[in-house]
Amino acid sequence: MDRNRLQHQVACMKRSLFDQGYLDEQFIQLEELQDDANPNFVQEIVTLFYSDSARLIHNIEQALNGKPIDFSKLDDYMHQFKGSSSSIGAKKVTNECTVFREYCSAKNAEGCIRTFQQVKQEYAILKRKLEVYFQMVRQAAVAHTA
């Protein structure tokens, strides 16, 4: 497939990620930091996010298994996770983090557990979508113009 068509597909996929609420403006901010010297900056940041946040997810899971649950520690972990998520423009993930923190603030364990499943689901969905997106970006970059 030639470069123009691939680039069009990349643009379409990106638009749909925004239209469906997976990404927000912050993702555009990251793209604007890319240049010839750092052509893969966004992909690198997203990769860093997923590797770094695995630790936070583990910490949150451990904290949710605590007896009793330390809601203050739980909120701290989620605050960090939410901060990282919003820094890459992960809109749905960030929104679920907000809901989680509300349950945390209310010391509602059941709400936290339920919402954390949503957080993990959105986190996984976004990861898959971004993997496909970056693969298309790479293909478009090396494709020849017809």
Partner: protein, 131 residues
């Protein structure tokens, strides 16, 4: 615009203080793009230590919530040391009380995360205008 900003900002230096690796990387890149020489540290104590080693910066981007020494303590400590750099607090916690507490520690400005190019440019213009 990037080229003229780089030429204009070559003498400005900055310190990024944030415990989050993602934010450190993004803020470092934002500053790089503006032609600002910058270093990154992971908490308030490291920020204080780097100043104790004799380094000085025009701009400090100070996260609020960090382990070991948070941004409020670090800002107070730096001001007590006589550091007159422009310190901009950066945080995602945004209640009025929390911002007030952070400002009273000695901030010159407060920015809400995530940091963007336009927010940074606003801060840098303050440095340029203060000479």
């Amino acid at each position: 615009m990037a080229q003229s900003n780089k030429e204009k900002s070559t003498k400005i230096t900055a310190l990024v203080v944030d415990d989050d690796m993602i934010n450190r990387t993004i803020h470092h890149r934002l500053l790089d793009n503006l032609g600002i020489e910058n270093e990154v540290v992971g908490n308030g104590k490291e920020a204080v230590d780097v100043h104790c080693s004799g380094k000085n910066f025009d701009l400090i981007l100070m996260d609020k919530d960090m382990p070991i020494m948070n941004g409020i303590e670090a800002t107070r400590k730096l001001r007590e040391m006589g550091i007159r750099s422009l310190i901009a607090g950066v945080s995602s916690r945004s209640t009025e009380q929390e911002i007030q507490e952070f400002m009273e520690a000695g901030l010159d400005d407060y920015l809400e995360k995530p940091l963007t190019m336009s927010k940074l440019v606003t801060i840098i213009r303050k440095i340029d205008s203060n000479g």
